[in-house]
Symmetry: C2
Subunit: 127 residues, 2 copies
C-alpha cells in the first residue's frame, strides 16, 4: 500500500519533480503533473519522451511531490517504475489530470502515445 | 557566463529541486534554497548530508528552479559541481539566503559545516 502522505500530496493539486536517469547515468529532472492510486505514484507522459525512454533503460526514479501551499512540505519518493498502461486508460487519465489542474479536458496534441508510469516506492522521505 | 533565465530564477525567491546520485547510481531529489552568481548556480548545504557526499563521489547534478508564481515556468540545469566554499563565506551565504526567503538570519543549528556547491551548467532547459 502507498504511504498516506504521498497519496494525499499526489492526489492534490500539487506538482512533482520527476527524476529519471539517462543511459550514461546522468539525471534529468522536470516538473510534472502527478497522481496516485492505492499502490502506486502515477505519472502520465508520452512514449517518445527522453524521460520515458530513460525509465525503460533504468527504472529507478525519484518523484518529489511539493505541497503547493507550503514549499517546505514535500514527499520524496525513491522508487522504480514497475508497470505502465497505454491506450484508452492512459488517455482517460491525462484528461482526468487536466481536470484536476486546469478544470478542462487535456487540450495539447498527443505527439506519440500517452503512457501511465506506475511507480513503486522503495523509500519515502517526508519533509 | 550563466544563462540569464537561470540567474533570474535562482536569484529570485524560488525553490529548486536538487538531484544528486548515490554511489549505486540511484537519484535523490530534494527541494532547496538556491542562488546564483555570474558563473554558477549555488546551493548551500552541510558536509554531513548525503547530497553533499554524493556530489563528492559523482559531481553530476540537476537543479530545477521553479518560478514560485508559475509552476509551468522553470529552468532545468544539468551540470556538475565544479567547486565549493566552506568557512566564513559559506556561513555568510546561508544567512543571506535566509534573508532572501525568510527575512531573518539563519536560525537553525549548524550540524557539521556549511558548504556552498558551485554548479556549472552543461545544459539548460527552460519551460
Amino acid at each position: 500500500m502507498i504511504d498516506e502522505t504521498v497519496k494525499t500530496l499526489a492526489q492534490g493539486k500539487n506538482f512533482a519533480a520527476l527524476t529519471t536517469l539517462f543511459v550514461d547515468g546522468r539525471p534529468q529532472t522536470q516538473m510534472m503533473w502527478v497522481d496516485a492510486d492505492d499502490e502506486f505514484v502515477l505519472i502520465n507522459t508520452e512514449v517518445h519522451r527522453a524521460k520515458y525512454k530513460n525509465t525503460v533503460h533504468d527504472p529507478r526514479v525519484t518523484v518529489t511531490i511539493v505541497d503547493a501551499t507550503n514549499p517546505y512540505h514535500y514527499a520524496e519518493v525513491r522508487g522504480r517504475v514497475v508497470g505502465e498502461e497505454r491506450g484508452a486508460s492512459s488517455l482517460a487519465h491525462i484528461h482526468a489530470l487536466s481536470h484536476k489542474y486546469n478544470g478542462t479536458d487535456y487540450g495539447q496534441p498527443i505527439q506519440s502515445e500517452r503512457v501511465i508510469l506506475k511507480i513503486k516506492a522503495d523509500e519515502v522521505h517526508v519533509q
